[in-house]
């Protein structure tokens, strides 16, 4: 009995916090837009019994999904989101790996402090940090002033409201999610393995590629998914730091919901986004599973 309860807890959790909301969104995506509250039809009216349910079902259709294919905007937004998410994941990896490596190789007594510094930004609101970036990146911002002061540039750079700003924002925001799993993998690694590799004829560099990288693979993969998955649907960063030409599906979604008040189309956009994400999520789960088995 106790076992049953223990097993039931995660499933109930999943049911309440994932499956039920998913079904609600799915249902809305199959509905039609309406000038009412909530702004879609049909609504399920249980007072009419079976007939009401049948009427409700017949009101559902795939019109909104079909609509997504008629307008170039949507698939372009998905593609551009994929591109931005992929590129920024790679950039986060390039920044995150050396940091994680540095922390894992730092003297023991330093490591908690360094990890603390990685997590520290989470103590302030995400929105405030993004606003701070606006202050740093705009034409009169700190970065431009600094570069002008150094004499590196003579004209202020336009960074804010471009894709560059979006990349900076995503890399900055998700860096800890990359650093932590890679650090966890590197920290576990026995340093005598590198010595053994050198003893057997590897240079430092090839020992890094042949031993360090394969042994931190699970951390790298986990970090990449932890960055890629949320970055794909990211909305705040592109809408605050990005410009009018920055096309991301999160932004489209937001506009459908709040500007157009077209809940059904917005829900359809969300459902498609979820379907796209299912592939990396399953791959991520598999990676975690393989890692657990390897540690056996």
């Amino acid at each position: 009995m106790r076992r049953l309860i223990l097993i039931a807890v995660p499933y109930l959790w999943l049911l309440a916090l994932f499956l039920v909301p998913f079904l609600i969104v799915l249902k809305i995506s199959l509905s039609d837009i309406a000038l009412s509250i909530p702004p879609y039809t049909p609504q399920l009216d249980l007072s009419e019994g079976w007939a009401g349910f049948r009427a409700f079902l017949s009101g559902l259709d795939f019109e909104n999904f079909a609509f997504l294919t008629t307008d170039d905007l949507y698939w372009k937004a998905y593609l551009s989101s994929l591109q931005i998410a992929l590129l920024s994941t790679v950039m986060t990896l390039l920044c995150g790996f050396p940091i994680a490596y540095g922390i894992a190789r730092a003297p023991h007594e330093w490591r908690p402090t360094l990890l603390m510094l990685v997590i520290l930004p989470f103590w302030t609101s995400f929105l405030i940090r993004v606003y701070a970036w606006m202050g740093i990146l705009n034409t009169e911002g700190l970065l431009n002033q600094f570069l002008l002061f150094l004499g590196v540039i003579s004209e202020p750079l336009t960074i804010l409201n471009t894709n560059t700003a979006v990349y900076i924002g995503i890399v900055y925001t998700y860096l800890p999610f990359m650093i932590l799993p890679i650090y966890a993998a590197l920290e576990k690694m026995d340093e005598s393995l590198l010595e053994a590799a050198e003893d057997l004829g590897c240079s430092r560099v090839s020992a890094f590629w042949l031993v360090t990288v394969p042994l931190s693979k699970s951390g790298i993969v986990a970090g990449c998914f932890l960055v890629f998955i949320p970055a794909l649907g990211e909305f705040v960063i592109p809408s605050l730091l990005g410009g009018s030409q920055t096309l991301m599906i999160g932004k489209v979604l937001w506009e459908e919901f709040f500007s157009n008040r077209d809940w059904p189309v917005a829900s359809a956009v969300a459902i498609v986004l979820l379907l796209i994400l299912i592939v990396p999520i399953i791959l991520f789960q598999r990676n975690q599973q393989l890692q657990r088995e390897a540690e056996g």
Binding site: S192, E195, E198, D199, L200, G201, L215, A294
Partner: protein, 374 residues
């Protein structure tokens, strides 16, 4: 056919393969290796013996290139290897912690070093198969290190370090996790490999029996210093100090005051007991405090006083340890000292001649023990 004795250390013209010249290694202000000088010759099987923490692994790591010397220098074939990085040294090491690559199969672990050279695929495959056969791991070639037992892992580490057939092979407790049978087999295997390949071996071991079996010479260390470096028989029969005598094998140590006449020494050690008669080539000052060390198997145990024994004492059997092939008798002397004597069990245990509380005589010749000054 005359068999020449392999003893390059006695040949003044022989060039050592490895020379430690006044090597000191300090970690912070802790001195792990203290002004140590040592020559190891080509084709030697050199054993380092000593208590935990005496600096054996540190010496190995300096040879392999993972630890720099604080002062002094190490020469390999006449060249200072200080500036040579580990991957450029013709030295392979078997790590005390094995350091197997967890992401690679046993096969790939063994092939790792070979792949760094310019051997062809076939050569590598052949060599790996040979190593697998040698260490009896063929069945496990496709497994990962976490899927095999501790002893098997040790054999993988051994195979991996042997695979490159290095000039100098460093083995840090290579056989610690093996059972006795496999251990003996592997010891002979190692000696065989050594004979076939002419590789020079430096082996660290806690097991003095192992050191005695495999080594051409043994170095006994303590706190970063070499106490004695010699062939196993000299270490055993003629230790240079109480420390070495005590560290290697079982020994009776008797303290007394020496009186010397030529090479004969008589040691007065207890009231009412005749002095011990022994021999020593060293010159001792009259009345000097010395230790007399004698191995238990050098004492013969009899019921009557033997007529012509140089030394004989009587006592009571306190304890008997039955070890199968031999028995150790603990004999308490009237002075309260307890001496250990060993005798071979040539008869069945039921027909043993002595039992608890029996009065017995222990006797030994003049040359059976050694006189030690420290």
């Amino acid at each position: 056919m005359t068999q020449t004795v392999f003893a390059p250390w006695n040949d003044p013209d022989a060039k050592p393969l490895i020379e430690f010249k006044g090597v000191t290694k300090a970690f912070g202000d802790f001195v792990a290796i203290d002004d140590l000088s040592l020559d190891i010759f080509e084709q030697e099987f050199f054993a380092l013996l000593g208590p935990s923490g005496c600096g054996k692994t540190t010496m190995m790591r300096m040879l392999a290139g993972f630890e720099s010397v604080t002062s002094g220098s190490i020469l390999l074939a006449g060249k200072d290897i200080g500036p040579v990085p580990p991957n450029k040294r013709a030295v392979n090491m078997m790590f005390q912690s094995y350091a197997l690559f967890p992401h690679l199969t046993i096969w790939d672990n063994i092939a790792f070093g070979l792949r760094r050279g310019n051997a062809s695929k076939d050569e590598i495959a052949n060599r790996v198969e040979d190593m697998l056969r040698l260490t009896r791991l063929t069945k496990f070639a496709r497994r990962k290190p976490h899927q095999i037992s501790g002893g098997q892992r040790q054999r993988v580490a051994l195979a991996r370090s042997l695979a490159k057939a290095p000039k100098l092979l460093l083995l840090d407790e290579p056989l610690g996790a093996l059972d006795k049978k496999l251990r003996q087999d592997t010891q002979f295997e190692l000696m065989d490999i050594q004979e076939k390949t002419g590789t020079t071996f430096v082996i660290v071991t806690h097991d003095q029996e192992e050191a005695m079996t495999v080594a051409s010479r043994v170095a006994v260390m303590d706190e970063g210093k070499l106490i004695q470096v010699s062939t196993p028989d000299v270490i055993y029969e003629a230790p240079n100090s109480v420390y070495v005598a005590d560290f290697i094998g079982d020994v009776n140590i008797i303290e007394g005051a020496a009186a010397q006449e030529g090479e004969s020494v008589s040691i007065s050690w207890a009231e009412g007991q005749p002095p011990i008669r022994a021999r020593s080539t060293r010159s001792l000052t009259p009345g000097q405090k010395v230790h007399f060390a004698i191995r238990p198997e050098k004492l013969s145990i009899t019921a009557e006083r033997p007529a012509e024994a140089a030394n004989a004492v009587t006592g009571k059997v306190l304890d008997i340890a039955y070890l199968g092939n031999i028995s150790t008798y603990h004999v308490e002397l009237p002075s309260g000292d307890v001496l250990k004597a060993q005798s071979a069990n040539t008869r069945r245990i039921a027909r043993r001649s002595f039992t608890w509380e029996d009065t017995v005589w222990l006797s030994w010749t003049e040359t059976a023990g050694v006189v030690l000054e420290q």
